[in-house]
Structure formats: structure tokens, C-alpha cells
């Protein structure tokens, strides 16, 4: 497969046409999408017209930008003016946003071509994409398995060759976990590195947009394109870009890598996954890094804290779906009845569960015991990470405790599903970046992801290490 870097360069030079690229991707969609269901909407007409526009610019001697002609899929909670954005929820079915998310504007300015809006767990709540109101997405590597979630459609779109880049959102692992399960690269940037303007909110202090790609270098290019300060998002960092490509090609000689003991060999991590992570650590050591096991004790409380904090924020954010300004409205005799009828019909079971959980932990009498305490645990996690980063440049762990599981196996017990996020949640609570890189396969032949974690704004060193892991996986022959 041509890399995004080469693809865009060839389009800019006029050696490859954006129309030819998009036709190739659309034909793969025609062939396999019925089995995989990566998309809520395939924007074929839009994509063809846009690709022709990009080719037209090149013909006129204009430069379409760093992602010229690159087919990009967008998770269906990223607002696209004039194109429906559903969050895979009945409550927003048919809604057409009146504005573009900042990431959409930036990709457009860079010459990207949007292929479609990808399926997801409703409002990004889930770890398998089975919570979509429009049916599940299947893992392109094995159609009996889930692609992970909540950005399962985006991960599947890249793994299946439907798009060269996809954007997802990551609140507790929703980019990294599906990337691991589908065998692609997935990045959760530092909180505030990418503008959240136009990202439909789930848990605002945790949400972050990031890219999926088939290689570390392609993911770095995509992140550098979408990152940087945005006046429209008051939580966006005052930086120009993530500088994800800054250290690529430098190797890991002399870098200090800590393997997180609590996550690498913990109970619940499958033995085959744990074995791959040991091999990843050995590969980094063989490349000249100093690799040691380390402890980040408070991460063991991450899951509990997350499942108080994220639902609490969600219960507040999702109060806006009231049938007044947009989306579904079900009739009621008065406004309260209308609210209740609309919300009960529009939200699926997992969303209702989390809204109620969040409302409960924020309610009088329970606030301190659950929400307040979780916020303190968040402080402990940040402190323990700070301590670890005094001794290490990056940390290493599995991305997900297992390889892709079969559809339907975790849907009846929410807590079992929540455990899928145990390795990814700590980075969201801390606001730190992390990346999942494919590293070999499990006993079932399905992909395993290695997670590289870095301190805030540590994208340069994070990508530097990820690139070496990628090369090591390729050398082993099991990377992809």
C-alpha cells in the first residue's frame, strides 16, 4: 500500500491523480463495505467532486496541500456542514450540522478528500462499536470479531483500505483500542493539542480527536495537519502543532523506556498479549534504548475513577438533547413530557446507563464519595506519571488486554466491556498522549497493539519510539 506521505507528494507533483486514488478506494468500499459496515454514510459523490477539484488545482499550478488527494474517513461525531452527523444515535438521525469542525476545515485546507462518516458506539460510549443504533461494524481481519470501539468504524475503514487516514475521538481509549484490535496505528494526542470545536462532546475534560493510519509516519503527518491552537476551543493549547514528525528517523539509542508493571503483566491481560509486549520491550532494548520495568501505582484505580468522571460529564453534556433545537422530537403534553419521550426514544441502552450513572454520582449525598473522590484519584494518577517521567522518556504497556473478541460476547455485562479500556484510560485522565502500534499477533492470529505513553506535549519522542517498534514488528514479520 502506498504511504500517505508518498501519495500526497505524487498528487502535488501531478504524477498521480486524486480522482484515480478515490476511485480505487471507492471500489474497495463497493466490494467489502456490505460485510464490514465501517460507514454510516459513504460520501461517494462528494469525494469524486472534491478529488476532481484537487486535480484541477494541481493542473492550474496551485498546491492543494500536505494531504493532497488523500482519502480521509471521519468518525460520525465530527461535524461536517451540510453532511449528516449522527453520533450513531437515533436522537441525531438526519441532523445536518450548520458548521464544520476545525479538524474538517484544516483537512480541507490541506487537500484531503472525505470519503465518509464512520460508524461508532453511540455517542462514543462503548468498546466494540456494538452500541451503534445502526448496527455493529465488523473487524476486517476476522468478520466474526468486533473492531473495538468506540471509533471502530474509523479503525475498520483504515484496516480495510477504504480510507488512507481516519479520524476518531478518544475519551478512554476509543482510538487506541480499536487501532490495536484492527492492526492499525492509532493516536490519542495530548489533551488540547487538537481542537475539539465541532466534536460532539462526550466527556469534555477527557475527549481528544486523533488519527488512524497504516503507518506511524502517516499518522504523524495527519496529526501535524490537524493539531495546533484554535481560538474556537478555549481548551486548545497555545502551540502551532504537535511536531509529531520532529524526531522520526532518529532511533531510540539512549532513550529510557519504562514498562508499566501494573498494566504489562496484570491480571486480566491475556498471556499472548503480555508476551508480545515483552518482545516489544526487548526490541526497543535491542535498538539501544534503556528498558526497565517501573511502577505507576495509581493507574490501578483508573478504571473506577474513569467510570465516575466520564459518565458525570456525559450526563451534563447530553442534557442538550432535549428535542428543542435539533434532532429527534417525540410529542408530549407539556415540555417535561416531551423531553422524557424524546430522550427515552432517542438514546440507546448504554447511553441511558451512563447518563443515569453520571446523574447518580453527581447527586446530593453521593457527590463526594464518588465524583469528588474520583477527581482526587485523577490527581494521584497525574502525580504517579510525573514521578515515572522523572526516570523515563516514555512508558510502554499493552493497548488492550486481549485481541479482538467475538461479537455479542460482552454486550450483556457492561462492566466486562469496560475492562477493555483498562490500559488506555490513565492517559486520558492525565491528559497525556499515547499511541498504539501493531506488534505481532496473538495465539488466534489477530493483531496485538503495543501502547507508547508520553508526558504532555511528548508527541515527538512518542512517535520516535513508535516508529522503532513498527520497524521491529515488520522485521519480525508479524507487524501486519
Amino acid at each position: 500500500m502506498t504511504s500517505v506521505v508518498e501519495m500526497a507528494a505524487a498528487v502535488r507533483r501531478g504524477e498521480l491523480s486524486a480522482v484515480a486514488i478515490i476511485e480505487q478506494h471507492l471500489s474497495r468500499i463497493d466490494q467489502d463495505e456490505a460485510d464490514i459496515h465501517a460507514f454510516n454514510l459513504v460520501m461517494a459523490d462528494h469525494a469524486r467532486a472534491r478529488a476532481a477539484e484537487v486535480d484541477g488545482m494541481v493542473a492550474r499550478g496551485e498546491d492543494p496541500g500536505a494531504l493532497a488527494g488523500v482519502p480521509v474517513a471521519l468518525k460520525d461525531l465530527i461535524c461536517t456542514r451540510g453532511t449528516p452527523t449522527t453520533c450513531s444515535s437515533r436522537i441525531l438521525e438526519g441532523w445536518v450540522p450548520p458548521y464544520d469542525a476545525t479538524v474538517v476545515s484544516r483537512l480541507t485546507e490541506a487537500g484531503a478528500v472525505f470519503v465518509g462518516k464512520t460508524n461508532m458506539d453511540e455517542f462514543a460510549m462503548g468498546s466494540s462499536t456494538e452500541n451503534s443504533a445502526f448496527g455493529p461494524t465488523r473487524n476486517p481481519r476476522d468478520l466474526s470479531r468486533v473492531p473495538g470501539g468506540s471509533s471502530g468504524g474509523s479503525a475498520a475503514a483504515v484496516a480495510a483500505g477504504f480510507a488512507a487516514i481516519a479520524l476518531g475521538s478518544d475519551t478512554g481509549g476509543s482510538i487506541r483500542q480499536p487501532a490495536a484490535l484492527c492492526g492499525v496505528v492509532g493516536v490519542k494526542p495530548t489533551y488540547g493539542m487538537v481542537s475539539r470545536y465541532g466534536l460532539v462532546a462526550f466527556a469534555s475534560s477527557l475527549d481528544q480527536i486523533g488519527p488512524f493510519a497504516t503507518s506511524v509516519a502517516d499518522a504523524a503527518l495527519a496529526l501535524d495537519t490537524i493539531s495546533g491552537h484554535d481560538e474556537a476551543d478555549s481548551t486548545s493549547l497555545p502551540t502551532d502543532s504537535a511536531r509529531a514528525r520532529e524526531n522520526l528517523g532518529r532511533g531510540v539509542e539512549g532513550l529510557r523506556v519504562g514498562v508499566i508493571a501494573e498494566l504489562a503483566g496484570a491480571e486480566g491481560i491475556a498471556p499472548d498479549v503480555a508476551a508480545r509486549i515483552r518482545e516489544a520491550a526487548e526490541a526497543l532494548a535491542a535498538s539501544g534504548a534503556k528498558v526497565e520495568e517501573t511502577s505507576v501505582p495509581a493507574v490501578r484505580y483508573g478504571l473506577s475513577a474513569y467510570y465516575m468522571i466520564a459518565p458525570a460529564e456525559a450526563s451534563s453534556n447530553l442534557a442538550r438533547y432535549d428535542g428543542v433545537r435539533y434532532g429527534l422530537r417525540k410529542p408530549g403534553a407539556d415540555i417535561t413530557e416531551m423531553y422524557m419521550a424524546t430522550r427515552s426514544a432517542g438514546f440507546g441502552p448504554e447511553v441511558k446507563r451512563r447518563i443515569m450513572l453520571g446523574t447518580y454520582v453527581l447527586s446530593a449525598g453521593y457527590y463526594d464519595a464518588y465524583y469528588g473522590k474520583s477527581q482526587k484519584v485523577r490527581t494521584l494518577i497525574i502525580r504517579d506519571f510525573e514521578e515515572a517521567y522523572r526516570s523515563f522518556d516514555v512508558l510502554l504497556s499493552p493497548t488492550a488486554p486481549t485481541t479482538a473478541f467475538e461479537l455479542g460476547t460482552k454486550t450483556s455485562d457492561p462492566l466486562t466491556m469496560y475492562l477493555s479500556d483498562i490500559c488506555t484510560i490513565p492517559s486520558n485522565l492525565a491528559g497525556h498522549p499515547a499511541i498504539s502500534v501493531p506488534f505481532g499477533t496473538g495465539d488466534d492470529g489477530l493483531p496485538v497493539g503495543a501502547q507508547v505513553l508520553a508526558p504532555a506535549a511528548g508527541e515527538p519522542v512518542m512517535f520516535q519510539v513508535a516508529e522503532v517498534l513498527e520497524a521491529a514488528a515488520a522485521a519480525k514479520g508479524g507487524g501486519r
Binding site: 488540547g192 481548551t235 467510570y307 434532532g327 430522550r343 443515569m356 446523574t359 464518588y370 457492561p414
Partner: protein, 120 residues
């Protein structure tokens, strides 16, 4: 060279569920919370959500058991405050485009059903 193991002094010695911080969740609690969240539940849903939410809260009992009284809470990864932009007028969303997405509109306004208790 092995980095020092980081002790977590605030951690309770035992993370069993003995440190449960609240009464077990009842169906009445869930019904109350559903009402607050403007959700109506069937009796079958009420039953199922009570069991499921109780199991999540039980898992969270491990943090309930932590003695972390003096630790400051973190609400946000980076405590940015008073972020302002220049107070310069600029175009906002197109009114017709916004209203075209509303379930019901009257005279360029969102139309809603009667507010409870309001005289007609």
C-alpha cells in the same frame, strides 16, 4: 539500575469492597435518577439498570476505600482559566440554516410545547 518503586502512601492496605461508601443501589434510586435525567424506564429496564449500575458502583468501591482526604481534586488536565478572545464582532451561524434543523419553528424562533403550569 532499577528505578525506585513508588509507594502510594494514601492507598488503603486492602482494596476489597468492605470500604463501600454508600448504601446498595435500590430500584427507587434508579427511578429517581432516571426522572432527574428526563428518562422514562419500563419496569423491565428499571430492574436491569439497577443490577448493572450496582455492579459498576461496586467496582468503584475500590476508590471509595482510599484514604485520600488531603489530595486536591483534578477537574481538568490543564487548569486554563479566563481564556478570552478579542471582543470583535464577527459572523455567527446562519440563522436559517440553524432553524432548518429544529423540530418546530415559528416566527424565526424554536417552538416548544407548553411549559408545565403556565397559564394559557
Amino acid at each position: 539500575m532499577c528505578p525506585p518503586k513508588i509507594a502510594l502512601p494514601h492507598r488503603a492496605p486492602d482494596c476489597s469492597y468492605d470500604g463501600r461508601v454508600a448504601q446498595p443501589l435500590s430500584k427507587d434510586d434508579v427511578a429517581h435518577v432516571a426522572r432527574l435525567a428526563r428518562l422514562s424506564l419500563s419496569s423491565e429496564e428499571l430492574e436491569r439498570y439497577t443490577t448493572q449500575l450496582a455492579s459498576v458502583l461496586e467496582h468503584a468501591a475500590d476508590i471509595g476505600a482510599l484514604d485520600i482526604e488531603g489530595v486536591p481534586p483534578t477537574a481538568h488536565p490543564f487548569p486554563l482559566v479566563n481564556v478570552f478572545r478579542q471582543d470583535v464582532p464577527r459572523p455567527c451561524l446562519d440563522r436559517d440554516e440553524v432553524l432548518s434543523q429544529a423540530p418546530e419553528v415559528e416566527d424565526d424562533r424554536f417552538r416548544i410545547p407548553r411549559i408545565l403550569g403556565e397559564a394559557l
